[in-house]
Symmetry: C2
Subunit: 354 residues, 2 copies
């Protein structure tokens, strides 16, 4: 078996953690009988610097020709004052749209060993294990018009969805719930938004096709509360793009280990993109101390979702767990009783454990 | 001095806590030389039952003719299946628009005595004291079009603001920061939304008029994280309607005492409306065990903001604090070492302390 992987290191610690993930994949390739072909492309701030655009055509072409994409992170203070079409995150939004990555899957799972790092009390966060399924190519992010009006005295953005766009993400969420704990929480604002009313209708229609899945509807404001007070009540959460942006970031800090959280962005039939939930962390970039685990677990998600290599994905995930259980940790996690290691050492430990 | 107060008890525990607030105001009226004239109007589910609409014309007229409005809460399972224009929350949205209540102020402050009830670790929540200033009459809530399109195969909602709508809420937030800790955090999604770009421009313009206030810009997803990891970093947060809905509910559970949080919704020159941050709590309605403090503190906010009765507002707030410090609590707050009281007893204790 041979697979082409497009590597998009991006900016900041994106570069370091992508390198770590590549090393882990090379170890997998040696242990199992798989060949990975890596090609690297520019995106984000570094692409602006080198090509004058956050998403060069070559990058899109390279990703489309690959079997999967690994992305590090984009952004940094250097480009913060740029006009909007020359900002690193335009590269991210652009690649999502170009590859039609409509389904963003963000698992949030507390590691027992790391519960001390959670801002929540142990009895609240302990045992939480949820998956946020966020719609990624519709809603306020891409709706038109999005413009100034009335000589600059007014402005509108448009939250727009087709029924099909809603159906495919809701199907994906039901299917995700089926292979997890058969509980789906659909989050909307149906007491205010027409789009949420349609969303809720579709969830109600679809649930007949998935009778094994229990369904709740929770309003987005209530969901923002419940994530904090009762995180263990959730299994799979499905929601539209902007609500998903907010809730998945909120959820990502609950376990206290943002540096451990992977994500997958999937297309219907095309190539999938995998990236850590964290950003480019300009403050620690280049120091070799970043936590590579979120990126390494993203590579594991790639093996599972894009290549159906479940054993190999499990091997990476078990290796990460065993290293954590041995109390090794990077600088983002305070642990007085643990052993502090840097990016390279953490990567080596995980490779040894594979 | 004589003031007309329109009372809108609404549904569920709204009725009980409004009664409690009225008793406290009567005590204030006896102690200080003020006369309050109360008139009661229907809103929400009970208005649907009695008048076939969640917001009868008489209610709007009564509120407009009053000096301030006290609202309990609306909603309940009885009306959950109603068509959207016959739902209790339409009454709430309607009265906001009718009175042009553009500024929703939601203070969130931890009581030392109640830190144990917070889902957050004590060292994280201790000392937090923030005010969320939410725009309440614009954005996705009222933007047109909000409709099905393409024969029901698509749907749009519109996030719409005028420059003036943004300016007045941003001014209100700067002014609130001036009388607090001179720190304003403006929350937007300027890396995606055109409306957020205009919002950020206006904050940047306005900051020149308030040189004593320090200003941060934080993206809404990052704000949702930071509220949990660093709640003490905030003083005043200002944001648009939908972001404010989500973030203020998120913030409301941080201290563990949602039943203690008041809110004010203010107009430019007109009457203000005051209501607890919590809902109608149908599960405990009618049992006489609801925590009346959020509503009582809302009445204190009314005295301060609508009537400039600062001493009287302080008297209520100090009374609440002293009762809490004596370890009395209602059933919503678990406190093994405290003394459990019901709605009436809590109200009486507060009146005694005035
Ligand atoms: C960078 C930004 C445009 C992006 C988003 O809002 O989707 C980010 O917050 C994310 O969640 O991946
Ligand atoms: C009931 C609902 C329409 C309302 C809102 O979204 O504004 C509520 O959540 C609130 O925050 O007061």
């Amino acid at each position: 078996m041979s697979k082409k992987i497009a590597m998009l290191p991006g900016d900041g610690i994106g570069v370091e953690v992508t390198k770590a993930a590549k090393q882990v994949l090379e170890a997998i390739s040696e242990t199992y009988d798989i060949n990975f072909e890596f090609s690297t492309y520019d995106i984000g701030g570094s692409a602006i610097d080198q090509h004058g655009t956050p998403l060069p055509k070559d990058t899109v072409k390279g990703c489309k020709g690959a079997d999967a994409v690994l992305l590090g992170a984009v952004g940094g203070p250097k480009w913060d004052q740029n006009p909007s079409d020359l900002r690193p995150e335009r590269g991210l939004l652009g690649i999502r749209k170009a590859l039609d990555l409509y389904a963003n899957l963000r698992p949030v799972k507390g590691f027992k060993q790391l519960v001390h790092a959670s801002p929540l009390k142990e009895e609240i966060i302990q045992g939480s294990d949820l998956l946020i399924v966020r719609e990624l190519t519709g809603g306020l992010y891409f709706g038109k018009p999005s413009e100034r009006q009335d000589n600059g005295n007014a402005v509108i953005d448009t939250l727009s969805y087709t029924k099909e766009e809603m159906e495919r993400i809701i199907d994906k969420a039901f299917q995700s719930a089926q292979i997890r704990n058969q509980h789906l929480t659909s989050v909307d604002k149906a007491n205010v938004l027409e789009s949420s009313k349609l969303w809720r209708e579709i969830v109600e229609e679809k649930r007949k096709e998935y009778p094994d899945v229990t369904v709740d509807h929770v309003l987005v404001d209530a969901a923002a509360m419940k994530l904090i007070t009762d995180p263990t009540d959730f299994d799979v959460i499905v929601t539209e793009n902007m609500f998903g942006d907010i809730l998945s970031d909120e959820a990502s800090v609950l376990t206290g280990s943002l540096g451990m959280l992977p994500s997958a962005s999937l297309a219907e039939n095309g190539v999938g993109l995998y990236e850590p939930a964290h950003g480019s962390a300009p403050d620690i970039a280049g120091k070799g101390i970043a936590n590579p685990i979120a990126m390494i677990l993203s590579a594991a998600m790639m093996l599972r979702y894009s290549f159906a290599l479940n054993d190999e994905a499990n091997a990476i995930e078990s290796a990460v767990e065993s290293v954590i259980n041995q109390n090794y940790h990077t600088a983002d996690l305070n642990n007085e009783n643990g052993q502090l290691v840097n990016t390279e050492e953490m990567t080596r430990l995980i490779i040894q454990a594979i």
